[in-house]
């Protein structure tokens, strides 16, 4: 479980995150939804302790992320916005490198890597060097190395960015599997279909603030719109088609 309370972060004079609070529960997929530049990536970066919040607190499974960043990172699996692989290593070597850094021994690393290669259908690319991988193959490898230590909490920054339809569907299926296994899944996206298809809870962020938080039914009701996309536009303060100018 991930709890964020009153997060603030500014770069220079720019307020990137301006008071964000929400909870992502175990056994649920939570979506951070917002337009580009709303502060989603910065929020996630604070959650996985890459950035230090100017104010506010983060607890992961009850642990304070600012006091115990290393312990918190052990319980997190993160697919960041930057997902570069080591081109001269094979997919398996990429995954096993992160397994070693997570403190797994050789046998554990091998077993976990085999399991992920199977779950993500990577059998035919596992032994290949990652130079020349397609976008979908790269994302699969990046997800496998992020989850190699079987973390209880999974953070994904725009996971389907650049994926084709088939890869997107496979990835959604994989995330539903994590949810069924009782993991806490938190993903950020600017795509409406993504949250509609996947998320149990939606946290809408605009201009660094949370403007709405709930299930898609609750959000539609709150905005008074039948269509989730219209609800989203209204909630982030944009005009919806049919409004008086």
């Amino acid at each position: 479980m991930i709890e964020a309370r009153g997060l603030y972060k500014s770069f220079g004079g720019l307020k990137a995150v301006d008071g964000v609070s929400f909870v992502a529960r175990d056994g649920e997929i939570t979506g951070l939804l917002g337009p580009n530049g709303a502060g989603k990536t910065t929020t996630l970066r604070m959650l996985y302790t890459l950035l230090r919040p100017d104010a506010g607190s983060i607890h992961v499974d009850g642990r304070d992320a600012q006091l115990e960043p290393l312990a918190v990172r052990r319980t997190l699996g993160v697919l960041p916005d930057a997902r570069g692989l080591y081109r001269r290593l094979s997919a398996r070597e990429n995954i096993e490198y992160f397994a070693a850094l997570q403190g797994l021994d050789r046998a554990q690393a091998r077993a976990r890597t085999d399991a992920l290669v199977e779950a993500l259908a990577m059998q035919d690319i596992a032994e290949r060097r990652t130079a020349g991988f397609s976008q979908g193959e790269r994302v699969k490898t990046a997800i496998a190395r992020a989850l190699v230590h079987d973390p209880r909490n999974v953070l994904l920054d725009e996971p389907t960015n650049g994926l084709d339809v088939a890869s997107t569907r496979a990835l959604r299926e994989f995330l539903r599997g994590l949810k069924a296994a009782g993991r806490c899944v938190l993903l950020s996206t600017h795509l409406m279909q993504e949250v509609a298809a996947l998320c149990d809870r939606i946290v809408i962020i605009a201009r660094g603030r949370v403007v709405a938080d709930g299930s898609s039914d609750e959000l539609r009701r709150q905005a008074g719109e039948q269509n989730l996309e219209d609800a989203f536009m209204r909630l982030i303060g944009e005009r919806v088609a049919g409004d008086a100018p």
Partner: protein
């Protein structure tokens, strides 16, 4: 520490698959210095040497008018070429380099005890010919002085009357010391192998990792950042050290092809040099690699890192140039200056002079401290948020 070792192993494995790293660390780094050096020595020293030993070909016109002179010149290394019709024109057209003309009245003047004239014909704007002309002039003057002294003696005068001043030169340089002066650039060439050996790995594992977007995923692992940095530093140092080791070997081999013996110089480029120089330079390897990692971590891109590190390569040139231009007497404090200390020690080693334990210890300690300082600076830049999110 286990995490640092994991990073170290991964960087080594990846680098061994990278042709650029291999070429830099294992080919270019070790060989560039010795090759440049060998070429330099061959070109500069070798040519002078060959010339001094080789007979000097000179077109002699009117040799029959001064047989004694020509005989004496031949003994001093002159090779007589048959006369040509118009030597001035031949020299101008570069058909011949140097001609000596004995005047028609040479014999008469010589026998009468007057100054007899010979003419040197050459083109002073041609560097080669100038050296040859100097050599011939020296031979002629030698012959003239000898005969002048004989004429004075024949008239019952001491030759000293005609030479009121004699300059005696006493060069106290031992053969080894003279060699080391020539080889003042050698320490720089060795330091250069350290630089080139680590440069690609330093760039690739810091600025390169960031540019390829793999730094952020790496830093999300539950590993303190200084461990990650330490692993990268160790990998850089290992490749640097490999380059240095191969470079030292290459110098030993190159030493066999250097014309040191012909010059009457001896340069202690034996196995002892290798065995002492390698551990002696180890602290410097750490210092250089720390500096490279620090600079590459500050750079915003691989290209920027390359530019900075290219410039940084020139820094170790400073003590080399200073030491070869201004011959300073080594003071103990100089050993405490990283680079300078190693340079001085290497030069002593090359001259086969004994090394003082205190100076070596001081040099190693000071260099290690400087390396630690740079590592701590690099760690600070690694701990900063700006590393991943440029502000």
């Amino acid at each position: 520490m286990k995490a640092a070792f994991t990073v170290f192993l991964k960087e080594c494995r990846e680098s061994l698959r990278d042709r650029r790293v291999l070429i830099n660390s294992l080919v270019l780094g070790p060989l560039l210095g010795p090759l440049i050096f060998l070429l330099m020595v061959r070109l500069v020293v070798g040519r002078e040497l060959e010339k001094a030993e080789q007979p000097l070909p000179v077109v002699v016109i009117g040799a029959e008018r001064a047989p004694d002179l020509v005989d004496a010149l031949r003994q001093m290394g002159l090779r007589q070429l048959p006369p040509v019709a118009d030597p001035e024109l031949a020299v101008r057209e570069q058909r011949i380099d140097l001609a000596l003309r004995v005047g028609a009245d040479f014999g008469a003047n010589w026998r009468a005890g007057r100054s007899a004239q010979v003419e040197l014909i050459y083109d002073s704007s041609r560097r080669e010919a100038q050296g040859d002309a100097e050599r011939l002039r020296a031979m002629l003057e030698n012959y003239g002085r000898r005969n002048g002294a004989l004429r004075l003696l024949a008239r019952g005068l001491s030759p000293g009357v005609a030479t009121p001043l004699v300059v005696a030169t006493r060069d106290t340089a031992t053969p080894q010391a003279r060699g080391a002066l020539l080889f003042a650039m050698l320490p720089y060439m060795l330091v250069l192998t350290i630089f080139i050996g680590g440069i690609w790995l330093a760039i690739d594992s810091t600025a390169g990792e960031r540019e390829r977007q793999s730094l952020e995923p790496l830093l999300i692992n539950p590993v303190p950042r200084d461990r990650i940095l330490l692993g990268k530093l160790m990998a850089t140092a290992v490749f640097s050290l490999a380059s240095l080791g191969l470079g030292l070997l290459a110098f030993l081999l190159a030493g066999r092809f250097m014309p040191t013996a012909e010059l009457g110089l001896s340069l202690a480029l034996g196995p002892r040099f290798l065995l002492v120089a390698l551990p002696m330079l180890l602290p410097l390897v750490l210092l250089v690699c720390s500096a490279q990692i620090l600079i590459a971590a500050f750079a915003r891109s691989v290209r920027e890192a390359q530019t900075y590190l290219g410039l940084a390569q020139l820094v170790p040139l400073i003590p080399s140039v200073v030491l070869s231009v201004v011959p300073v007497k080594a003071q103990l404090w100089m050993y405490a200056v990283p680079l300078l200390g190693q340079q001085l020690s290497l030069m002593r080693l090359l001259r086969a002079e004994p090394l003082a334990g205190l100076a070596l210890a001081l040099s190693a300690l000071a260099t290690l401290l400087a390396a630690l300082g740079l590592f701590l600076l690099a760690r600070r830049s690694y701990e900063s948020e700006q590393l991943v999110v440029p502000g």
